[in-house]
Symmetry: C2
Subunit: 227 residues, 2 copies
């Protein structure tokens, strides 16, 4: 396939050789009790495509993944996590000597205040679930950034550019990949995406409908220029 | 494998020939907004094992499935659903001419009162989620039972027999498969199970640790005797 050939060319040019790349992927699960959870929609396909492409380009790739049903790409070290808190711990433990961090995971912003130890029995007609904010991993990475190139994602259903640009600035990112998940071909569990790449200087690149493998190559090529 | 041979024997005896069997499997997803949901843990493995075994025994099998990452077993008609409400509609539309209904799905008891049309932005430090009761599919099937043999599941973390027996009676089931999901080898996403089969007359069969394929054969063999 063409994308494999392009990846081979980029790899032969060694654009990510000996770079340590952290990729997060998939959604998190925040337990309500042992059987119920609050989840985020994410097939993990975008993050896995990036991890695969980065490994082909010669990078040392760590993939920190929520529960997904995808095989681990060749040459990639994968760490499985379930909650946002576990993802934070895994990312921070890998952060210091990393060169690039690409946070493609859909991390829960909120978690139940208390996870019940035993299954909650359904008694009342309604149930009030109190949620508290999860740690904001990307903001924390942005605050402690040294040499790292930090890339975030913004999956939005409205005011895409506004939300994405605000997130880029507030979290001290170098690039943000924004996509409107309501567009056909850009939603969850698709093999394609329609992304906009937004940079710190305000410059925006609009990508057409592409496979997630192709989007991964474009993202990594851009990131390599920011190193 | 031995289970395939046993299934072949039961099938050659035609114990489910021309019977219509509805199996539900997997967990449901109840939307909070377009990206977040309340989910139930379930790999779908137990239900898919039952659907596969029933088809081998000659039954006409309809598998009504929440989001899982399992292939459709051969000879099985599969209907994909996401919410408890959609699962209810699918089950009811297949119910009247069915002979056996086995509800292995982990259906959400509660759903968010209102699903937000757009992604909820994280503003406050906490969020209160109001949940309301979902329709109880199994109770509804029990109330409208004609000739059907109705089998439920009880996945519990404590007081297993008490909860399971109460559920059997209250929902007018013919058999309930109870398992303590805190036991090693009986949890979610395992390939094995440790089940207790509980019948209307109060009689209980304790099964040892078995593969889910083997548990499926035992369940279907028992069910065929209740037809």
């Amino acid at each position: 396939r063409i994308v494999d050939e392009i990846a081979a060319v980029l790899s032969s040019r060694g654009i990510l050789k000996d770079k340590k790349v952290i990729v997060t992927a998939g959604g998190t699960r925040e337990p309500i009790d042992p059987v119920r959870f609050v989840g985020n929609r994410s097939s993990g396909k975008m993050g896995y495509a990036i991890a695969k492409a980065a490994a082909k380009m010669g990078a040392n790739v760590v993939l920190i993944s929520g529960p997904v049903s995808l095989p681990t790409p060749q040459g990639v070290r994968r760490i499985d996590v379930e909650t946002a808190a576990a993802m934070r711990d895994a990312v921070l433990s890998e952060y210091d000597d990393s060169n690039i961090v690409i946070k493609a995971a859909a991390v829960a912003d909120y978690r139940p205040k208390q996870a019940a130890v035993h299954k909650i029995k359904k008694t009342g007609d309604s149930l009030v679930l109190e949620l508290e904010k999860n740690p904001d991993i990307l903001s924390e990475l942005g605050q402690h950034k040294q040499k790292q190139v930090l890339v975030g994602f913004a999956a939005e259903t409205q005011d895409l550019l506004l939300h994405a640009q605000e997130k880029l600035t507030r979290k001290n990112l170098d690039m943000i990949v924004a996509n409107d998940v309501t567009l056909p071909g850009a939603g969850f569990n698709t093999d394609t995406n329609i992304a906009k790449l937004i940079f710190r200087d305000g410059h925006i690149e609009d990508l057409p409908l592409m496979s997630k493998d192709e989007v991964a190559l474009v993202i990594l090529n851009k990131v390599s220029q920011l190193l």
